[in-house]
Symmetry: C2
């Protein structure tokens, strides 16, 4: 590999001049610049990110810490991040979290000891330790799909989203609406889901009774969704509509209904969450979560934090959108 010194020697200039050409400094004579450029081309020289990082004190690398629970969601967010980074010179190092130990390790060392100059934390609740480390190292960090007063964030307004979904079901005439939700961050079971708040608030606003037995919190799998519907249908007063906290769970609800001969949407209306690929294909009415947008804006926030660290942390809230397909029954109702 050619170094900056090789280029300097070949072009008969000092390394400083080569460096200036590299950084596009205006203070270099056009002809010198041309000569250096030519030498760079000829040698196929590419500056070493390592040397540069050390000298500049900036590694040009971002770290993203992301759980593995909802694969589709996470890949989409990641892709949003990548696209936003494509124009820049930043590299992306990624740490996936599957078990509590993974999370603890990642949180104990955000930025991987200086390897990254900023961190994107996706769908994970910051611990006290993480906050302390971030503060101690002055490492810029942005929360994606989560909120915390101490950190900038990009998140969907889950409460508003739930309100949208539940309101839609109420308008369609449903009065017994169940919730099949999951924990946003399985490692932080205590934090109440924004969706649940929105669900309850909307029912209350509509003058509908809150029934604890209608609120099911399960994990992400379709199986869990199936089990949840089975339990709900076994109730003395089964719900006529279900709002699922993820499309994956909604898929399970759909399958359970099919197996029990419960017609969707006639006997049971269903609204999902996220709008994954399969939702369109199943005709699932759902809340569209702009997953790539979350990633893109997260990067934007982080890059902004680099430039003006003194500015107050921004909290970006994305507005949800309801995608009406046919599992909610609205299309059929309109046709009547």
């Amino acid at each position: 590999m050619a170094t900056i010194r090789d280029v300097a020697r070949e072009a008969a200039v000092g390394v400083g001049t080569v460096s200036r050409v590299l950084s596009g400094s205006p203070q270099v004579a056009p002809e010198t610049r041309a000569r250096v450029q030519a030498t760079i081309e000829r040698l196929g020289y590419r500056p070493s990110p390592l040397g540069r990082a050390l000298a500049r004190g900036r590694s040009q690398t971002l770290e993203v810490i992301v759980p593995l629970f909802t694969r589709y969601f996470y890949v989409e967010v990641l892709r949003g991040i990548e696209v936003a980074l494509a124009d820049t010179d930043y590299a992306l190092v990624i740490r996936t979290i599957e078990r509590p130990a993974d999370r603890d390790r990642a949180f104990a060392d955000p930025g991987s000891r200086g390897r990254a100059e900023g961190v994107l934390i996706v769908s994970l609740t910051p611990t006290a330790e993480l906050l302390a480390r971030l503060a101690a190292t002055a490492l810029p960090a942005v929360l994606v799909n989560n909120v915390h007063p101490a950190l900038p964030s990009v998140a969907l307004d889950h409460e508003a989203a739930a309100a949208l979904a539940v309101q839609h079901l109420v308008r369609l005439g449903h009065r017994r609406i169940a919730l099949v939700d999951h924990l946003e961050d399985p490692f932080a079971p205590s934090s109440p889901s924004g969706r649940r708040c929105g669900y309850r608030a909307t029912l209350a606003r509509a003058g509908l009774e809150l029934r604890p037995e209608y609120e099911r919190v399960t994990d992400f799998s379709p199986e869990a969704g199936m089990a949840a519907l089975d339990a709900l249908l076994a109730l003395p007063q089964p719900p006529t509509a279900v709002f699922a906290g993820s499309d994956t769970q909604a898929v399970g609800v759909l399958e359970a209904a099919r197996r029990r001969g419960v017609a969707v949407p006639d006997d049971l209306a269903l609204v999902g969450y996220n709008d994954i690929e399969m939702a369109g294909y199943l005709g699932l009415t759902t809340i569209r979560v702009p997953m790539r947008e979350l990633g893109r804006l997260g990067v934007q926030q982080l890059l902004l934090a680099f430039e003006t660290p003194e500015r107050a942390a921004g909290q970006i809230r994305l507005e949800p959108e309801l995608i009406v397909r046919h599992t909610c029954g609205a299309v059929q109702a309109a046709a009547r």
Copy 2:
């Protein structure tokens, strides 16, 4: 951030000694070591990966280039890689490929100009340019889920896998077996799928007729699977069994059958590929692809290449496994 010099000063030793303690060199007096260790703890010192990388000439970073087509597959492979790396000090930088331009950019600069000391290339066919770059930079690379004579690789034997699946259907009495496949690498449409070879070979061995109209190559979506089955059922002699090249497509086949009132497995037997999460839940008979294992072994190969670059490139082939559930009809047949 404390540097090695701070530690040296505080512990009243030279930086060399601190470095030796860090690397666990035996040539340091126990009491000196203890003193240095204590100082390290007290200062909370962590060596900078950047400085270390520069001095050692090794960045302790691996790059993985991976397409986005099958999300589940790719996340699992990635996780296998991460788990294998958890014990080491390696970081993982990832480049996701969605469009040809993404691939070209990644292939034009494998290792991101020295940022990574090795590359894992997942499900992507190396181009001549990539091979040239790898050779020019002497960058170790390992192919995952793909094979090339010039590079070490870890791959499933797709041909054997297809044979397993088709043979199973033949044994169950099927004589009209269709294939709903996809391209392993959509950017390299020319390369024939190993699955198709296995499919044809097995049919031939069983003395069954090869029907070109039974071979459908589509993309990964369930929609494509649905369309493929629709086309197959419209044939004068529709197949009685389908072997799908991915579970995602199999899901579409399943749904299309349901919509047309074709009973699975009684009227149509189905075998998928990959064994994604949803396969178990749908009762889909399928080929289990050890996705995490692919990632884990890829890392192992790469680390091995670091140590002994002179050794010939290893080609690891993983053996496929058939998971019998109920869409193939074997369970029902056994019960009779």
